[in-house]
């Protein structure tokens, strides 16, 4: 047990897996010599050397192409796309190649690749470096989607993603990098497709992801003071989605609130809402509520950005408003 930041957990998770599997390679922009622009990959070049840890040109399509091509031959690859906003410059590789290769070839090839990328807002970077794009990947058949909210989950879910034989997009949240927690010693390996109930409650089920998890928990505490017992679920992976945990919680609480950082339209919460509204409809005692970033780009100024992304206050007020 030692305290570790979310940031340092990334390098620890990658190192854990590179030690285990001598074939695992890692590439990306400024990831080797510089240790990553978020300092999430410090020390990897030194330990694993330039053949396995490679700096690349600013060529996201070439990065994912090299990663996927190698993966098709059985070489597992971790590829970093520095900011998740940049998935757009290589989206053909992400959505049309990597996601479809196995299906189009009827299983002739697997694509054991993990695309790591820094996601989310809060850094005052403006519209092109702050997006939460987990729904961009969730909507593509053939991609698994993971977004940890704690340092321990970073290691465990990264390990699970790397060991998974299918393509995984792994979202690391910029605004969680500095958060710390006590992390167990030794190897940590988790499982994809398992949500976590981070706080138990009986009146309402709040489903959150990544940065929205600590905010949902804080909101739940305050709702508790108002006599509302909120259960908070950290979805952790959007694909595969742990529908069992979510549905059974809503069956107990009768209410669903999703807290999404992605903008409103076609966010992951819409998918969860439609699922609940179909499969446990008769358990619902109240309208389904989605709390999202409004359907707008992210502004740069701090006070504007803070007004845009769901906050603890907004979660509390919205839930109370529904109760009123």
């Amino acid at each position: 047990m030692a305290e570790l930041t979310y940031r340092d957990a990334v390098a620890r998770g990658i190192a854990q897996e590179m030690r285990r599997d001598p074939n695992l390679v890692f590439l990306g922009e400024d990831v080797a010599a510089a240790g990553g622009v978020f300092k999430t990959t410090v020390g990897l070049l030194e330990e694993f050397g330039p053949d396995r840890v490679r700096d690349t040109p600013i060529s996201e399509q070439a990065i994912l192409g090299a990663a996927a091509g190698a993966a098709m031959t059985g070489v597992p690859v971790i590829a970093e796309i520095m900011f998740s906003d940049f998935l757009a410059v290589c989206f053909d590789l992400v959505a049309n190649e990597i996601a479809k290769l196995r299906y189009m070839t009827d299983g002739q090839v697997s694509v054991p690749i993990v695309i790591r990328t820094a996601n989310g807002g809060g850094s005052r970077f403006g519209a092109q470096h702050s997006q939460s794009v987990e729904n961009w990947c969730m909507m593509i058949p053939g991609l698994k989607v993971v977004a940890p909210s704690t340092a321990t989950d970073v290691i465990g879910l990264l390990a699970a993603s790397i060991r998974d034989p299918d393509p995984v997009v792994f979202f690391e949240h910029k605004s969680l990098m500095a958060t710390k927690e006590d992390v167990p010693d030794g190897d940590i390996v988790d499982e994809l497709g398992k949500a976590r109930v981070v706080r138990e409650g009986s009146d309402v089920t709040i489903v959150a992801l990544a940065l929205m998890v600590p905010r949902a928990v804080a909101a739940a505490e305050r709702l508790g003071e108002q006599g509302i017992s909120a259960e908070v679920i950290d979805a952790r992976t959007l694909v595969p989605l742990d529908t069992g945990t979510i549905l059974s919680s809503v069956e107990r609480t009768g209410r669903l609130v999703t807290v999404e950082e992605n903008p409103r339209l076609c966010g992951w919460g819409a998918e969860v809402a439609s699922l609940v509204a179909h499969e446990v409809f008769w358990s619902l005692d109240a309208p389904i509520v989605r709390i999202t970033t409004p359907h707008i780009p992210l502004p740069a100024a701090d006070i504007l950005e803070d007004e845009t992304i769901p906050s603890v206050d907004r979660i509390v007020e919205t839930v109370l408003g529904e109760w009123a």
Partner: protein, 354 residues
């Protein structure tokens, strides 16, 4: 061989003709078996493509299909030079390249027919022929991406020190998309064992390549931007293609890195199924019809003393093969409907919820 360009006019069909510039027998020192093997490959590719066309016209091949009729010398020449464990990437125009890598005619034709005995059990179709066990790493229908994937298999070979080379085929029009640029730069920077082969058939879909490209030779004039040697060859001369392939593959195998070759050719038909190819000057079409790779090679072999009967025997044997393959393909069952839910994930299924 070179191609003259012009500033480009709108009525493409009346633009100056870009005719082939034959240079005759390159006089390469090749074994007889090799020449006959090359001829056999040309016949195989030609006759399968013709059969694919017929099946299409009988409406047995659904959707679209892009044939290599007139362009077979390129995949034939490379096919002859490739090692079984080398990797190949092709485009939607990939029937010939798949066959050249050793896939059976029936598995290819059955896939065109969408049958269970097709290479991908009907999931891929004409534009996505793949045969990974034979190193045929797939046919890709969105321009550009497969050049970057080719770097990946080459990187894998480099990491494993396996001596395998990757060959990536693509068209002239593909040289104008971003992925081309990214792929060529990285291949050179990492000194990857990959050969990029531009099949320059002078047109993208319906637009002449010189009309929308800043340079006369879409691939060769870009080579220096990646520290590579410019290389233009006669893509309709199978001897030239084979000889080039041998050299470039060997170069890559020796760790001397990537190369980019532009092979000039012409498609005798339209871009795809529906296309009557009206946008091409009739005289141009004529000129290239006479310079058909099979006509050229047939004559060369006769000039070199091979007997007409030997060659006829080969084409007849291939014709039988193609007939048998067609029958086998047609005899294939329809794919089971449940198969739409298989092979999205490595576990064989497609569940999105745990």
């Amino acid at each position: 061989m070179s191609i003259s360009t012009d500033e480009g006019r709108y009525d493409y069909a009346t633009r100056p003709v870009r005719a082939p510039r034959p240079e005759g027998d390159p006089g390469l020192d090749l074994r007889d078996e090799t020449r006959l093997s090359l001829y056999t490959r040309l016949q195989e590719l030609r006759q399968v493509e013709k059969r694919a066309y017929d099946l299409f016209m009988q409406n047995l091949v659904k959707g679209t299909s892009h044939l290599s009729l007139g362009m077979e010398a390129i995949s034939a020449g490379f096919g002859e030079a490739l090692r079984p464990d080398d990797y190949v990437f092709a485009t939607y125009r990939g029937h010939a390249h798949t066959l050249s890598k050793g896939s059976s005619m029936d598995s290819v034709l059955a896939e065109l027919l969408g049958r269970a005995n097709g290479l991908m059990g009907g999931k891929g179709g004409s534009m996505h022929l793949s045969d990974a066990d034979r190193g045929m790493m797939g046919s890709y229908a969105i321009i550009g991406a497969h050049l970057t994937l080719a770097n990946g298999t080459a990187w894998s070979a480099q990491l494993r020190n396996s001596g395998q080379v990757t060959v990536c085929f693509f068209g002239d029009g593909t040289t104008n998309i971003g992925a081309f640029h990214e792929a060529l730069n990285l291949a050179k920077v990492w000194n990857l064992p990959v050969v990029f082969v531009c099949e320059n058939n002078l047109y993208m879909e319906y637009t002449p390549i010189d009309y929308i490209t800043a340079v006369a030779n879409p691939a060769a004039d870009r080579a220096s931007a990646y520290g590579l040697e410019p290389m233009i060859i006669d893509g309709n001369d199978v001897d030239v293609v084979y000889d080039t392939a041998r050299k470039l593959l060997e170069r890559a195998r020796q760790g001397e890195g990537p190369s980019l070759v532009e092979a000039i050719t012409y498609r005798s038909g339209g871009h795809s199924r529906a296309d009557p190819a009206k946008y091409r000057p009739p005289a141009e079409v004529e000129a290239w019809k006479e310079y058909d790779p099979i006509i050229v090679y047939h004559q060369r072999l006769l000039d070199r003393g091979f007997s007409e009967s030997t060659l006829t025997e080969i084409s007849n044997r291939v014709a039988d093969q193609v007939d048998r393959a067609t029958a086998a393909a047609k005899a294939g069952a329809q794919p089971p409907l449940e198969s739409i839910f298989t092979e999205l994930w490595a576990d064989g299924g497609s569940a999105w919820r745990s």
